[in-house]
Subunit: 142 residues, 2 copies
DNA sequence: CTTAGTGCCGTAGTCAAGTACAGGGTCAAG
DNA sequence: CTTGACCCTGTACTTGACTACGGCACTAAG
């Protein structure tokens, strides 16, 4: 079978990846995606590799990496960057665990607040806001 | 005892709250903080209430509320907004729970990645990046 | 009384992550 | 050969949350 089927223009690449065309170009400008050298005419062709890379960027973003970090990660792929990549991932893991803990405290606080609110509905000043205003330090400050 | 001790200028308020002066002014412009009417001269004085409010804003931000949502919450405080406030808080609670679930999936993914990385350290191409490149859908797509 | 240090006000700049658009070029169909 | 759908480059705009700055007023210390 011919494997030309994966050849795409920027438009179909973007569509396939579920992002805006301009986002693809933006990533190229940021050096996250390479611009395939354009043949005679001037219309670039992209393949499955580019699509994966785009998918990687989006996955990594959902993992909480900034584009700068994603760029770093991708640079580490060209060669022996595994050590560093693991270090970065470990840092991110710690980070994520901290954020989960925060979120859980937030959850508890919100839950408490909602229930308090339900309990004394007739109140004039909202107990939720009151409790927040009364300087409860729920989440670690920054 | 005199309770004039809580009177502050914008500068000390900002310092006490651990934010930039300009941030305070910004919140005032956004209507999150009131500008105390300035006496004769023209230098406003802030009190513990303002400090709490500032603390509330920061807490709420850490709770994942945007400034717009915080403004909403604060507006509900002037009167009988308790019902609405609870509704907002409930929505946020659902939201936060979803985000916690996401983060936990992220955590698992990162953890897995880190361990894979540790396992086959000698590899040329980093397994972490490889796994991300191979289109693993870890987190719900947006 | 003078002057350093703040405060006030208004406008403008920054940063991340896009998104939009103008003014061209190219390509495939009819 | 024309038309419409895309593509290319480059520049500019957007949003959220600040942060900075210029020019003037005021207040506190010496």
């Amino acid at each position: 079978m011919t494997r030309q089927a994966t050849q795409m223009t920027i438009g179909s690449l973007a569509k396939a990846a579920g992002v805006n065309i301009e986002t693809v170009r933006y990533y190229q400008r940021r050096g996250l995606l390479s611009e395939p050298d354009k043949p005679l005419g001037g219309i670039r062709r992209y393949d499955r590799g580019d699509l994966s890379r785009l998918g990687f960027i989006k996955s990594a973003q959902r993992l909480g990496f900034s584009l700068e970090e994603v760029a770093l990660l991708l640079k580490l792929d060209d060669g022996t960057g595994c050590e560093e990549a693991r270090t970065i991932a470990e840092k991110k893991l710690t980070d994520v665990r901290g954020r989960i803990a925060d979120m859980q405290r937030i959850e508890a606080a919100l839950d408490h607040i909602v229930h308090t609110c339900q309990a004394r509905q007739g109140n004039v000043s909202c107990p939720m806001i009151a409790s927040l205003l009364m300087g409860e330090r729920i989440v670690r400050p920054a």
